[in-house]
Subunit: 392 residues, 2 copies
DNA sequence: CAACCGATGGCAACTGGTTGCCACTCGTTC
DNA sequence: GAACGAGTGGCAACCAGTTGCCATCGGTTG
């Protein structure tokens, strides 16, 4: 988070695009530096000539420490620096295949769930000398396949953060490049996931301690693995703690979905709710508030993921925090490990690969409270005249 | 926004990373596909041999429509498709320099200000057949320079979304590749900015219509161009509409900065506030609420940018919406224009380049209201016992 | 003194496309 | 019948590095 945009000086309130921003009327005087902008960067051949050595020696001076006499290497490096030599990554990549690029494919860059994942991955990649290529596929399987097609030949490895593709499509990709999947478990491809089960367990314990005896799970999309997993975990935890568990949904995991869920929930209430994710929880919060319920006095609400914004909705959301930054960073580490050990990929294995489970953490904020006595709210309840809800 | 993460099946609650995820105990039976994973993709040479033509003909069949006899070309394409030939982008890029890559350097991927910008840029890039490389520089000038070093030789053009570097550093980069800057105006490099002046004007008019007579501007970072511009525009608009304008700050444009600003503001109040950006505004909102002020009854609050979350804080924030998606998309278009017209870059020009100003839009939500009568709030006011603010 | 060896540097092939230029064919025109 | 020109295809150079292999050299060992 932190700093923000710079801005433009608008002393010239000119609106609209320049028709041809680069049109340059042929001037008489200032064409002195005719071939100025054409200066291309020097190559190892130029450096070699300047040093009186062979190009291969220059190449080795940079990429094979020790292979060249120390003094010679030093001289070459000095001359190269003076000439402003920079090795051309494309030329290096062609024979070696080492592009120093990694790709992360995210389902939706505008979903705050991914921000910290990208940040974590980028950090780890940069630290390891790699550049990260972020591709947004806007929740489309076709776009994902195309992005993969485009980037696969370019990169040394790929990280699929929440792929929408089938397992077999993922395997096809993994056959070509080292691959790691996030938030999804595959037995033949390294996986990194949040420990949803434990996170849910913590959430249920928290609600139980507050005296709640029935929990409603507001489900996300049916196709989501996480959704199934969270619901199962909730049920198991509730069983152990002797609490009733119910389920409504599925709903789209968006604010709109949450608002829709609020109406369904109003028909079959409970004092506590766990939502599939924060976006849904926030929508639910808005919907319930509009229906006259007070949170957390009437309904305690728990979300999942701890995305940006879950701390400044009102009340701030209690949520099971996914270790987003670590998720991205750790997944990238797994990818780097694969790059370092050039073992045959996707060999049929005796025992399935075990996923890495990263711990979730329950962040208790303002949306959960001890169970109060029952109170009327909702469409059928008498209109409230409390301190004005904002006209939204 | 929309869909969200998939999830892992946690029937096997195994924690931690696999030591060596790819270690494969040498099995006796399944090594039949010995050179299976080693199959490299076919090249134009393979295709040429299969077709009985020269490699150059294959190359032209793909990249020079019409240059090759239609039947021959068709045959080549068919055979290539059968063999699964895909042109190697690296090999193509080496002689031509056409990598089909563009880079966008953002100051902070976790800042919601950038989400839609990235999305817009990525959309435009993909549509034009380019792949977008997103680099996050975490607000660090050094990291930005390094990211630039790393990506410049790889890409065909760069988009600097809110660069922290000096103008001259940007010019150095622009000398090497077509460049466009966002949220910053340079006279010799194409710029795309939000029309802050008009946006601010609309905000001031809105507050004036609500009866406010004094507006406090809560400033962002001093180094920010946008900040200076917004303050100037506010002052000018206020002057014309005969309203008083005041200014406090600078503050860090974060939620924390906003909370700090709340305390300063409490000392010298006014009924209306315009904040440098939404993050600051949201922090301010939280800070003021904690101090006992009611928003919008006691203080009307306007933010800038309309970032993710500004609609679900309480009350929802009235804000000057930057056309984020367009900003990214349009800037990318400008970049593509430069790529298409290979004119000399950065030639000294008679007349300065005019920036493209994209219109902002005032989004009126719940944080602004008609000016009410003065009411006591703040640390000195008698403690309020209103409907419980959540324990945050 | 011969054989050997490690250190060092150069040669040339290789990565996989692109493209300028030339050669050939065939139909047209003077 | 010669000259011309468009349509096609091939040759070979080129992009800028990397790397296997060999030659040379000085020093060491038997």
């Amino acid at each position: 988070m932190a700093d923000d945009e710079d801005g433009g000086d608008a002393t010239e309130p000119v609106v609209g695009a320049d028709g041809d921003p680069l049109a340059d009327e042929p001037g008489p005087a200032d064409d002195d530096a005719l071939e100025g902008p054409r200066r291309s960067t020097p190559t190892i051949y130029d450096v070699a000539a300047a040093c009186g050595v062979a190009p291969s020696t220059v190449s080795r001076a940079f990429s094979r420490p020790g292979r060249v006499n120390a003094e010679t290497a030093e001289r070459i490096r000095r001359v190269a620096a003076e000439m402003g030599y920079r090795t051309n990554p494309l030329a290096r990549a062609l024979p070696t295949g080492r592009t120093s690029l990694l790709a992360v494919i995210v389902a939706d860059v505008t979903n705050p769930f991914f921000f910290e994942i990208i940040r974590g991955a980028e950090e780890a990649a940069t630290a390891a000398g790699y550049t990260l290529l972020v591709a947004d596929v806007q929740e489309s399987v076709d776009a994902e396949r195309e992005a993969l097609d485009r980037t696969l030949p370019l990169v040394e490895g790929i990280m699929l953060a929440t792929s929408r593709m089938s397992d077999s499509s993922i395997r096809v990709a993994a056959k070509q490049r080292p691959t790691v999947v996030l938030n999804r478990i595959m037995t033949d491809i390294p996986s990194v996931v949040t420990d949803n089960a434990r996170g849910m367990r913590r959430a249920v314990e928290h609600l139980a301690e507050l005296g709640h005896t029935t929990i409603t799970y507001v489900a996300g999309p049916e196709a989501s693995w996480a959704d199934g997993m969270r619901w199962r975990s909730l049920r198991e935890a509730a069983y152990e703690l002797e609490i009733r568990a119910r389920r409504i949904g599925p709903f789209s995991p968006t604010q709109a979905g949450g608002i829709a869920a609020a109406h369904v929930f109003a028909e079959q209430r409970s004092s506590a709710v766990v939502a599939y994710n924060d976006l849904l929880a926030i929508g639910l919060m808005r919907g319930l508030t509009r229906l006259g319920a007070r949170i957390p006095q009437d309904v305690s609400l728990v979300g999942f993921d701890n995305i940006f914004g879950s701390d400044f909705c009102t009340p701030p959301l209690t949520t099971v925090a996914a270790p987003l930054r670590n998720l991205g960073g750790y997944a990238l580490t797994v990818l780097l490990d694969q790059l370092r050990t050039p073992s045959p990929r996707l060999q049929p294995r005796r025992e399935p690969l075990r996923p890495a489970l990263l711990p979730a953490q329950l962040v208790v904020r303002g949306s959960t409270a001890p169970r109060g006595r029952r109170r009327a709210w909702g469409p059928s309840a008498p209109a409230r005249t409390g301190p004005g809800q904002s006209p939204d």
